[in-house]
Symmetry: C2
Subunit: 451 residues, 2 copies
């Protein structure tokens, strides 16, 4: 937290403690909505509620709300009267209002939509039709667009009067039927003669997305073409919305966090629960229990080799390193592939090369680690055959692990399961099992030399 | 890859095969630089080289180059003549040129800087002074700024003439000494009367960063305040550069990938090496070898309990599940904390709460998993004491693992080591060791009941 925010937090806390609400109200009115929203993450629900009620300006309240984690926003709204909710939501950009409504309990959501003015509720209900993580689900419907016959002079005049349109940088141009046909930047508008019609100067090759485009792909497009906003069209190419770069930034951060959490078997959803341990535990447990049974199966396989083991108890000393290294290497390969899918760096056409590379890398690293651990075994237990068994097992286990780590996300992507969530428990269990089988298999083969 | 790009790729490959270079040249001239850059990732070096040389327009070549992975860009430049390099680099925005020069072998970089026109090389050398991952290192120096006495009319006229300034959305206002004093959006400019001076209408509270600000924090600011560009000032508050949102998107993606890779013990650097397996293996091995010795230490500890083990061989069946689950839970907690640091969601003031939460979550999940695995042990080996030992060990191991997972990144952050890279091998080894000690410690305690 930077100093400025720390000072604001201290001030706010002091004023809340003292009950100096009029002063607090003034402090809030002077702060940036994003800063107030940031403060909320350091406050307990009671303080959040007091603070939010002290924001006098409805527009300001709406801005704060759109900057909040949407779950916190939904929680706050549940605490205040239905009328106030409706008022505040009406002040917000529709796309933000929709996200908050999605997080509200269904009955409250419906009640609010009924009390809302028709013009607003219709817009919002239409947006609610789109799936949450598609272009339609995140787009804003307040677009500044003009007809292709408009003159530049008229366009500038319209622009000066446009209200409620946040962040205009491009003017989108449509034909008589609302089809997207062109685009111009604000700056281009200023550099052509006033009498020109837009259709004569506009760029006709507009990068755009359909409403059902996945939000992650939208983000990739915006990042690739370095654009500030991307227009959204329906299936008939009619302009229906706009996704601005600030929304794209949110999407990218969200998707990255989601992937990172998923790879560790956690879920971004737990951010909604803050410090509620039981809820968080509940979210993480299914993945852990899956792993637990993987571990039990591995243990069961070891049990099958108990004769070998009780003959050569030294064998147990390398179990952790062989299963552990398999897990590490498999995890690396899986991570590279999962992240590659997410950023678009790896796709089905480059996949074969990537998998072959991971296999080669696995062999090389397996050789290095196998020789290392083989030498350790030789020196420690003074038995060259033990060194050989451990080394061979390590090389094979790591090679198999690397290939499995690269193949598993591919397989899950093909069958339509999110590779980020499925890969890790699968890869880990599969690696443990093959590691153990290879290790004890080799050991049983050389058993007469291991005594 | 989308259809359009697939078609372009097919066309390009066909034309390369046929040697139809003039046609290829025409196809390239009509394509978007970002699309050409994207194509490069599917081509072998030889094809990349042919293609790049066929881009006739230097400006286009510069655009393609700035869209490429910077390593691919540096590679391509090494293949073409020094003069052409210099020409192309001079056409690029300085910030992109600087990034490419940073990736070139030092002698080539110096040679280029000497041949470059002084006006360009001076700018570039100045930018090279800033550390790569700071605001100074990523900013563009082509800023559109005006003096505070300028009238709105004059400002619009200046804007119409401004060239080489990519993506103007804000006009930055400076005083006579070049200090940043205000900002106006392009749209605001259009809505005030032409004779007004900028100082009377500008917003004076400009969000800005110092040149030495970490790029990750810059990205967090831009995301937080939903701005399209952030001005960069030196230590005397003089305006020296600008970071636009498209650079921020690159930074965010880069940092997310870096964190994800690091947590798995890989490095983003390996993307530079493509399919070169030895280089990639070299990058991943140090982390693996660290883990390897962690595994050997765990094995050594198990060896200390060989008496217990050879008495009750059934104990081995739960080693994988106990060390495995510790690793999973520790990994989850570490991931939550590392990602929290990266996104700014967790900072030192909220850390205590987070660690306590992870501890509670660890206890809850430990209890659930402990009971589950205890029952498995009881049913499988028919010994209630074995169930008790396994269950107790699981609960303690998971609780310790969760706390260690949350504490390790905190510790590494405090001592200035990147938590993303250090946490995993440390947490894993520490968890394995405590898991084994707790497990065999408990087992030794109950040994008389375990037969």
């Amino acid at each position: 937290m930077d100093q400025k925010l720390q000072m604001l937090l201290d001030t706010v806390r002091r004023l809340v403690r003292r009950g100096a609400y009029p002063n607090l109200s003034k402090v809030l009115a002077k702060s940036h909505p994003a800063d107030i929203a940031h403060l909320f993450s350091y406050l307990v629900p009671k303080e959040q509620q007091i603070l939010f009620n002290l924001i006098e300006n409805t527009e300001m309240a709406a801005s704060v709300l759109s900057e909040l984690e949407h779950s916190t926003g939904a929680f706050l709204l549940e605490q205040i009267g239905r009328e106030t909710i409706t008022e505040v939501l009406q002040e917000m950009p529709y796309d933000d209002a929709v996200e908050i409504i999605r997080n509200l309990p269904e009955e409250i959501a419906e009640e609010i939509l009924t009390t809302m003015q028709d013009e607003h509720s219709e817009e919002i209900e239409q947006l609610l039709q789109y799936a949450e993580d598609t272009a339609g689900g995140i787009m804003s419907t307040e677009i500044f667009s003009l007809r292709e016959e408009t003159t530049v002079q008229q366009a500038i005049a319209d622009l000066q009067q446009a209200k409620d349109v946040e962040m205009v940088f491009y003017v989108y141009v449509t034909d008589a039927h609302g089809h997207l046909v062109g685009v111009m930047s604000l700056r281009q508008l200023l550099t052509v003669s006033p009498a020109t019609q837009l259709k004569d100067v506009m760029v006709t090759d507009v990068i755009n997305v359909r409403t059902d485009k996945d939000q992650e792909e939208v983000a990739q497009l915006v990042a690739k073409y370095n654009i500030l906003a991307i227009p959204v069209v329906d299936e008939w190419n009619k302009l229906v919305g706009l996704i601005t770069v600030d929304d794209v930034i949110d999407v990218m951060r969200e998707e990255a966090t989601e992937d990172i959490y998923k790879m560790a078997g956690a879920s971004e959803e737990e951010l909604l629960y803050g410090y509620k341990s039981f809820k968080v535990a509940q979210l993480r447990l299914p993945w852990l229990i899956t792993n637990l049974f993987g571990g039990v199966i591995t243990g069961y396989l070891m049990w099958q080799f108990k004769a070998t083991l009780s003959e050569v108890i030294a064998l147990i000393t390398f179990i952790p390193v062989i299963t552990g290294m398999g897990g590490n290497v498999g995890g690396q390969s899986a991570t590279i592939v999962v992240r590659g899918f997410a950023t678009g760096r790896i796709d089905l056409s480059s996949l074969r090369q990537v998998i072959l590379k991971e296999l080669r890398v696995g062999i090389i690293m397996g050789a290095v680690c196998g020789i290392t651990v083989g030498l350790v075994a030789l020196i420690w237990h003074g038995n060259p055959f033990l060194g050989l068994v451990v080394g061979l097992a390590m090389i094979s286990a790591m090679t198999v692990a690397a290939s499995m780590g690269a193949l598993a996300p591919t397989f899950f992507k093909r069958v339509g399961i999110d590779p980020a969530i499925a890969s890790s428990p699968f890869v880990q269990t599969a690696n443990d099992i093959t590691g153990i089988l290879i290790y004890f298999g080799t050991a049983t083969l050389f058993i007469s030399h291991l005594h």
